[in-house]
Symmetry: none
Subunit: 249 residues, 2 copies
DNA sequence: CAATCATATTGCGAATGGTACAACGCTATT
DNA sequence: AATAGCGTTGTACCATTCGCAATATGATTG
């Protein structure tokens, strides 16, 4: 771990996570807790590579468009999205709900692709959005290949945020739920993150049995519950077929 | 400019720009020209923040999904109108016609910004106005990333209103026209909405290749047709440059 | 199955490069 | 005009990073 790189990336994350505050040099210095000259040089270096840009009046720093270039490169290099695209389309078409593909990044589920359904009222997630693992269907899928010990290690010392009265906030209960997901081959988020929103997801496993991604849908409680059985079949089949393409048995 | 940050970001750029070669530690070391232990630590730091990830077998490094999170944050922080403003000005100045920026909302193209040219006789659209997709240049641009099936779905059961004898009212013909727009990289509305008014527009694509907006001009038939070739170049270049800022390639 | 090779990872002393401090410049505000 | 608040640049010291070498891991060979 290289300290100055660590600091530079922290600055980047800080800007990304706090769109509300105006990020001038003083504010960034306050955040990092080192001298402003160091912060200035860190930001200059980031700016040189287009990851941040300073307002023309030099007063505030914002995220830079170089990020888009990286995102475009990432998109073209990652193969799982290409593989999954037809499945997403199929799921979205069959369920008439928005379908999405997520991968895990640390303790987050990051959405890497999505397919819109025609419905006007629908859950709206964008590529790049990330959600927590413990309260989402895709999140639970993404850790469903881990054993009890690994789950414990992953969530060790992590506070599971409560979002609704159904959110699982106890690691022990979460581990049990994940075991159930593993056995069933799919996961449900029944208003555990947002009231009136129900999600359904299935894991995508590679040849090693490791969950590489999760494919899921989400929508209003009534629509989802009314056809739950049919939807489970659709989503789980998509996950299984996609897994098969990655060599899973 | 801080050396280690500089090096870390160079590694990131290198991975992004060379999808073909397999980026193992040796290759990255060769590229940077410093000791492999340093490269290892730089990559580890990048990996900790999700900007790169190492293949499960630890052999190769790829771009990480944390990039998507940054891209999502950037997208939510940047308003397209701010970005587009200088381009609108440039286009209006170069063509001496009114320039406007439109985004799609359902089956409408909504004008979100405009730049007036000096001409007294000119098409007059205001911010907030909306026009139909099938009979306007910006409208055709805004759906030019969709494939034939999506076009069909979008206009399914929709009556395409005839405004002039040149208005395209057949979905089949419209789909062909949109395919032509996609290929050409710009769209023309030759009196398809209003007699004697010609419009010209180019799509603005993001890093996903999705058309987020359209930039266009409109004016009286004679002025527009007299300089059509030059105008096409001006508008299309503006669209391409703006797209590049959003990470399109 | 041992041996060898190729690769990634870790420990550690040396010195480079980053940091803090201070000085400077710029703009706005009184 | 003076002051204050910010960003930017110069510099010397010393913490951090670097390169070297040792170790670990895993693949390939005879």
């Amino acid at each position: 771990m290289i300290q100055s790189v660590e600091r530079a990336l922290s600055l980047l994350d800080h800007i990304a996570e706090h769109p509300e505050s105006s990020h001038n040099l003083a504010e960034m210095t306050e955040f990092l807790g080192v001298d402003k000259s160091s912060v200035f040089r860190l930001l200059s270096t980031l700016a040189k590579h287009g990851l941040v840009r300073q307002d023309e009046s030099r007063k505030t720093y914002q995220l830079g468009f170089g990020i888009y270039s990286l995102a475009a490169a990432l998109r073209s290099q990652v193969k799982i999205t290409e593989l999954a695209a037809p499945f997403l389309k199929r799921v979205a078409l069959a369920t008439k709900e928005n379908a999405h593909l997520a991968v895990r990044s640390g303790l987050s589920a990051v959405f890497v692709d999505r397919e819109r359904a025609s419905k006007t009222i629908a859950a709206n997630t964008s590529i790049g959005d990330s959600e927590e693992l413990h309260c989402t269907a895709v999140g639970k899928c993404l850790v469903s290949h881990l054993d009890r010990a690994a789950i414990g290690l992953l969530f060790e010392g992590v506070e599971l945020t409560r979002y609704t009265d159904r959110t699982i906030v106890d690691v022990e209960a979460l581990a049990a739920e994940i075991a159930a997901v593993k056995a069933a081959g799919y996961a449900v988020d029944a208003e555990e993150y947002e009231k009136n929103v129900v999600c359904l997801a299935a894991p995508v496993r590679n040849f090693e049995g490791v969950v590489e991604a999760a494919i899921g849908i989400s929508g209003p409680k009534e629509r989802m519950e009314a056809q739950m059985d049919a939807f489970v079949a659709i989503v789980r089949d998509a996950g299984l077929e996609l897994s098969a393409m990655l060599g899973a048995r």
